[in-house]
């Protein structure tokens, strides 16, 4: 499948590498695709990513245009601006897997959430682009575990899904299973993203307390 990833930081690069390994065509969408040697924080440069993994790098709009499925791996605070750069015409009818979180770092650490219990980032995206088929998933664990759940406790932990389009959720579920996920929990319509996005404060606290991001939520039932 042709997949665009919006965002070229550690999460976008990790996800892109995995999707390439699985045989997908992947384009990383980024603000300045000609600046391949820019440092990407915890991740390497895009030139290194391409050298190691193959895959294309393009503007947000060019990446999304050719894609059948789009992954929002941009920072939550930038997401709506990034989608404006993509353009509604490149989004309509497509599945948008939203893995971002509405973290507000403007007051330092720990971040607060710029949208929470009565709304969510995923719902903001859905309202701005009603024809996009938004599915929220993968926003509650580290990038390493997103693409390799078996790396912790043989995959015995939970990935949540929420969305208004059943066919889109089935498509995302298939993708998640191809990553090695077995405990998928469909929470229903997209308003459930409020609950999963609100997991971030305790996730960040757990990271700090346990000293590792190799941690995960399992819903015991």
């Amino acid at each position: 499948m042709h997949i665009a990833i919006l965002g070229s930081g550690i999460v976008g690069q990790t996800l892109g590498a995995k999707l390439l390994q699985l045989g997908h065509q992947v384009t990383l969408g980024t603000r300045n695709p000609d600046q391949l040697d820019d440092s990407k924080g915890m991740a390497g440069t895009l030139r290194d990513w391409q050298a190691q993994n193959g895959g294309a790098v393009a503007t947000f709009a060019d990446a999304a245009q050719a894609a059948e499925l789009i992954v929002n791996a941009s920072s939550g605070a930038a997401t709506l601006e990034v989608l404006k750069l993509v353009g509604a015409e490149h989004l309509t009818g497509k599945v948008l897997l939203d893995i971002a979180n509405p973290l507000d770092f403007s007051q330092g650490m720990p971040p607060s959430l710029f949208v929470k219990d009565t709304d969510s980032l995923a719902e903001q995206i859905q309202r701005a682009y009603p024809d996009v088929r938004v599915v929220k998933a993968l926003n509650t664990m580290s990038a390493a575990l997103m693409v390799d759940p078996q790396a912790l406790a043989a995959g015995e932990h939970t990935v949540f899904m929420a969305g208004n389009d059943e066919a889109a959720k089935r498509q995302v579920a298939e993708l998640l299973r191809s990553f090695g996920w077995s405990d998928l929990l469909d929470l229903g319509d997209l308003s459930a993203a409020r609950g999963t996005e609100m997991l971030l404060p305790i996730w960040l606290r757990l990271w700090q307390t346990l000293g590792t991001h190799m941690l995960q939520f399992k819903i015991v039932r």
Copy 2:
């Protein structure tokens, strides 16, 4: 130990019954202790509770006065008013186990949270009564599981603790172990209550989705 429980609904009654079984002296604090035949929603009347479990019923102030340890099982929206009825003089120096959540039902279901990512109910209590030794715990599962964790998956799930007083946390941890808890996770100081209180939206969604409150978070690490 002499324990006061503030709140006489299903949570207070369930916790009180368990503590009595374990040999503690328990007083349920309630607004109108002479109205023993009032309906208590999902729980039975206080007359039934007393007949079945023993234990005392008193005003919030009288209950707290004699207690070594106080459990806040009042509804989150009423908590600060209830503590005012208790009186600071009956709180000073005592351990207050806060199991309440800041749920706001004023706009219907699902509830929103009246305090969240930048503050918590537990911290509001601590600021109002600086001499109280507040420990947040047990606010992330149903009353049935609070007192009997072994009833689900042989107890293989997590109870969180947060608080500024290490000795108070040790005392609460001992109490939790006596209930059958084995996976205690100390998240550090009381600001971690922000994260645990923000678990309520997904907890409520999980209850709705799974059709049972016999569900729990396990932190896999």
